[in-house]
């Protein structure tokens, strides 16, 4: 029985790839919407994020160690990755509600609407990368071949975001308060994860270091951020990522196979 749902999910996944043109047009409409009546469009988010990063870095530099230029890349990459993860999580909560009229009318696999959220945010993420490029130009550091590790790490992060989006999309369609729950949990996760602060930042944080490694968000961010900064990654982070990625993926495909056909009744 279990295998049946999983293979159903995989079958739908393959089927959904035929709809790449539809996904493309849905995303292009979403992006045009952002640019409409605004020359800067999504770059407004970029500006607000860069101000955010600048302020946070200066505060943490003044109470921590290092100079602002050594801390800036760390914070910038962390915040941008977190922004990507969290907006995906937030917007997944509304995937099917946003697409309700289309779903009731067309019989495309609902993967299509999940792709729409993920890839739309990926494109906005690429917009935001300009911040890191700018910091690099002003104050370069050594990256070298680590870039490949960072790319591999990002691929894992992308798969995890995708799995999470599937789960959230489906469960928010069924349970309307999951969205509120996510909205409330996200800021907490942001503060307990070393995104704007570093491991060993204070004494208490040092004591909890062992627990910290098992925070999947930290691990997912680390495997991208550390190589990008030219550092080596704590091997534990890779272990966590290797463990969590297939687990989350299989769970989400299983849930999809089991529940996706019910979504039309829920919205």
């Amino acid at each position: 029985m279990n295998k049946l749902y999983f293979s159903q999910g995989i079958r739908d996944f393959k089927e959904s790839l035929k709809f790449h043109q539809l996904v493309k047009i849905l995303i292009s409409l979403d992006i045009k919407r952002r640019y409409r009546r605004s020359f800067l469009g999504p770059f407004w988010t970029t500006i607000s994020l860069s101000i955010n990063i600048l302020i946070v870095t200066s505060i943490f530099t003044s109470i921590g160690e290092g100079s602002i230029w050594t801390n800036l890349p760390y914070t910038a990459i962390g915040v941008l990755l977190w922004h990507f993860i969290s907006t995906n999580a937030l917007e997944s909560c509304d995937t099917f509600i946003q697409a309700a009229t289309i779903i009731r009318q067309a019989n495309a696999p609902i993967f299509v609407y999940i792709y729409r959220v993920i890839f739309r945010n990926l494109i906005f993420f690429l917009h935001n990368l300009i911040i890191i490029a700018l910091i690099f130009v002003i104050s370069p550091w050594h990256i070298g071949f680590n870039l490949f590790y960072a790319a591999a790490g990002f691929l894992f992060l992308l798969v995890n975001t995708f799995s999470l989006a599937i789960l959230l999309s489906i469960f928010t369609a069924r349970f309307r308060d999951v969205g509120q729950l996510v909205t409330n949990i996200l800021p907490i996760l942001f503060y307990i994860t070393p995104i704007i602060w570093k491991r060993g930042f204070t004494e208490i944080v040092s004591k909890m270091d062992a627990v910290m490694v098992f925070n999947p968000i930290y691990s997912s961010i680390s495997v991208v951020r550390e190589p990008l900064l030219g550092h080596s990654v704590d091997i534990h982070c890779w272990y966590v990522v290797f463990f969590i990625t297939p687990l989350l993926f299989i769970t989400s495909i299983y849930c999809y196979g089991k529940l996706s056909k019910r979504v039309a009744f829920w919205i």
Partner: protein
């Protein structure tokens, strides 16, 4: 492979949710603290919208569906379109199927008419290249002129319907499913639309249309199904079923 539809013991249950059952917090608490109460206070109700349908539709059939409001006609059409999945039973659709139900619902208000043609076309499973080929013809038929490059939020309701109609009727499905005969636009456009729809009906191998009009059902179909309460009451020639159905309705 011939075009056709096979339906065996098809059931569709519609879940109706109360506020409690839509809240994950309440669900969790209910299960842990008041396990017994939840059994009595069952908030999960299902409406049996289609009951044990058995049907075989083959190429050449022009099926009219009659029935009161709430008889399950629209649900049945949506099941055929693959929007609602059967709760049990079997449904096999051979051939491409397009449903003209709620036309215009999927339009994106902020996108231009042209963008919407692509969006709707792709939703109707038309290949991108086909839409591109038919683009000019669709624009011309809709009589929108220069409006086609404006966001459709600036359109009048008549213009919107004309656009939607032109897109929907540009597809060439094997099986055409319609909820009521479409009539859109002013008198002039209506005539044009009528001709186009008739054309589409003729070129489709199977047509399934729900309607309330005796005249229309007699004109279009060669087989009529009467539905009531989610069940098939009668399935026969237009003459037989119309006489019974409209005879009953008049009484």
């Amino acid at each position: 492979m011939s075009v056709g539809i096979e339906i065996k013991h098809l059931n569709v249950d519609f879940p109706v949710y109360s506020n409690t059952s839509r809240s994950i917090k309440k669900q969790i608490f209910k299960k842990n603290l008041f396990k017994r109460v939840s059994k009595i206070d069952s908030t999960h109700v299902a409406v049996n919208a289609l009951k044990n349908l058995n049907l075989s539709i083959t190429s050449g059939d022009r099926v009219g569906i009659l029935g009161k409001n709430g008889a399950g006609k629209s649900t049945f059409l949506r099941v055929l379109n693959g929007v609602y999945q059967p709760s049990s039973g079997e449904l096999i659709v051979r051939g491409s199927l397009n449903a003209l139900i709620d036309i215009g619902l999927g339009l994106d208000a902020e996108a231009t008419g042209r963008e919407n043609i692509f969006l709707q076309g792709l939703l109707l499973r038309m290949p991108y290249e086909t839409i591109a080929l038919k683009l000019e013809e669709i624009i011309e038929f809709s009589e929108l002129g220069e409006f086609i490059d404006l966001p459709i939020s600036s359109y009048s309701s008549g213009m919107l319907l004309r656009l939607a109609f032109s897109i929907y009727t540009s597809a060439e499905p094997d099986i055409l499913v319609m909820d009521e005969w479409l009539s859109v636009g002013d008198l002039n456009f209506q005539k044009k639309a009528e001709g186009r729809l008739l054309n589409m009906v003729e070129s489709s191998q199977i047509v399934i249309m729900a309607s309330h009009s005796e005249e229309l059902v007699r004109a279009i179909s060669n087989r009529v199904i009467w539905m009531d309460g989610g069940e098939i009451v009668m399935d026969g020639t237009p003459d037989d079923v119309c006489k019974k159905y409209f005879g009953c309705a008049n009484e």
